[in-house]
């Protein structure tokens, strides 16, 4: 039940308890209680809107920054990752397998803004040994939603 609710809300966070209850074949009170529990357990962290920011005025600029890091003896990557996550400019932080350690998604008002943030803040952290910044040029899909214009429903009535 819980995983079904998470799946539904991941698809559309605006489903009402009643709508979810209908799809799951239970009553709205049960769904409400489950959602509250999921929030309390910290499985559901929040609800946000998917925006095609390229259509907005003053659209922010984003970059993926690859960080190489020297892990601490006891704490591994936790300490530096948490420190990086504290910055409001940082949208997400992931520990990666492969060629580098942390993938940091950074947003800013301009390329310059981000460049300055990487140079002054991220690159100067003691355990960070190198950075590589890749700017996002265009967005095609965001959180499972295709952003480019699609063709719509082209089914015909044939019978």
């Amino acid at each position: 039940m819980k995983s079904e609710i998470v799946k539904l809300l991941t698809e559309n966070a605006r489903y009402t308890f009643d709508q979810m209850a209908k799809m799951l074949g239970c009553d709205a009170k049960t769904v409400e209680a489950e959602v509250k529990a999921l929030e309390k357990e910290g499985i559901i962290k929040g609800y946000k809107t998917i925006v095609d920011i390229e259509k907005c005025e003053d659209a922010p600029v984003s970059a993926m920054v690859e960080l190489n890091v020297i892990p601490k003896a006891d704490l591994g990557f936790e300490e530096v990752a948490q420190r990086v996550a504290e910055y409001p400019q940082v949208e997400s932080v992931y520990l990666m397998s492969g060629g580098y350690d942390l993938n940091v998604v950074v947003k800013g008002k301009s390329l310059h803004d981000i460049a300055r943030f990487v140079a002054k803040e991220l690159a100067t952290i003691d355990s960070v040994t190198s950075t590589a910044t890749h700017f996002v040029m265009r967005r095609y899909k965001e959180m499972d939603v295709i952003l480019c214009e699609n063709e719509g429903d082209d089914r015909e009535y044939i019978l």
Binding site: N12, Y15, Q19, K22, M23, L24, G25, R155, Y157, L159
Partner: protein, 390 residues
Amino acid sequence: MIDYSKVFNSTVEEMKPSGIRRFFDIAATMEGVISLGVGEPDFQTPWHIRKAGITSLERGKTKYTSNSGLMPLREEISRYVERKYGVKYNPENEILISVGGSEAIDGVIRAVTQSGDEIIIPQPSYVCYEPMTALAGGTPVIIETKAQDDFKLTPEALKAAITPKTKALILPYPCNPTGAIMEKEDLEKIAQVLKDTNIVVISDEIYAELTFGKRHVSFASIEGMWDRTVTINGFSKTFSMTGWRLGYACGPKEIIKNVTKIHQYAIMCAPTTAQYAAIEALKNGDEAVENMKKEYNRRRKLMVSSFNEIGLTCREPKGAFYTFPSIAVSGMGSDEFCEKLLMEEKVALVPGTAFGESGEGFIRASYCYSTEHIIEAVERTGRFLKKLGK
């Protein structure tokens, strides 16, 4: 000048256009219409299946196949129907690949029907059986299935419809538009009625994989029924492959041989690209089908509860992808209801009467649409009923 009044076969001239069409021709001219009308999946054909079609083109597989269809595909179908429904067919001569399930249905009807033969058709059901029978020179004998029987075919009704002229029975389950299914014990009762007759059963099982809660039982798997049954199935609904136009008929070699003759002269063979894609669908498509089914099931539950909530009594459809709510509460006939709903709230639905007179008092709503779309359409329908004071 040619006198067209003397040109046409009168059976064709008297054929009415499908009742599904009428409203959609109107709807197509209006802005902001939201439809629950179409009878095909909204999902794309799963990518790995499309890829198999593309690969076949890249490799230059652009020729005709044999009349019966690619042997590897018939072999896959043979394995598939055995593992799914426990029925065995020899790919050599008991399986025919057709252009959609429809062509196979038409072929079987034509292969068995002579002038004056009666073909029994339970209704409400898909719109093609009656005109196909008429075109073949047969006489459609309609059995009106009832809501109180969950729109199942009952042995009593079947017995009453059989005459010495009865040639075949169409068994359209899981049923478009009612969503009814026939369970094993229902089919066994039908088998009891048929066992000492010479009646061929054309079992249209195109929605076999879209049943909810109960697994589909193939009529050919019922004891003693294999040798009188032709099972029609296809790729359109299960694998979301409507545009590929690919179906098949499985049956005893005596029947398939004769259907293949018609297919050979009228069609030659089913599209080659589609046949290659279909091999991939049968081999590796189960997971994709399961995922689509989960989504259909969610929409199905949403739609049934929502219709009941706004006052349209809606039974739980156990198969296909339609709900068939009663509109008795509106006090209107199906046609009037659909027309007013379209004009006032811009919701396009199909009147039950499009599927036979016994569909009067019902509407067909397809759930081949996103949940958001369904929610909006039902909301508008609810508003329409409220305005009526219902």
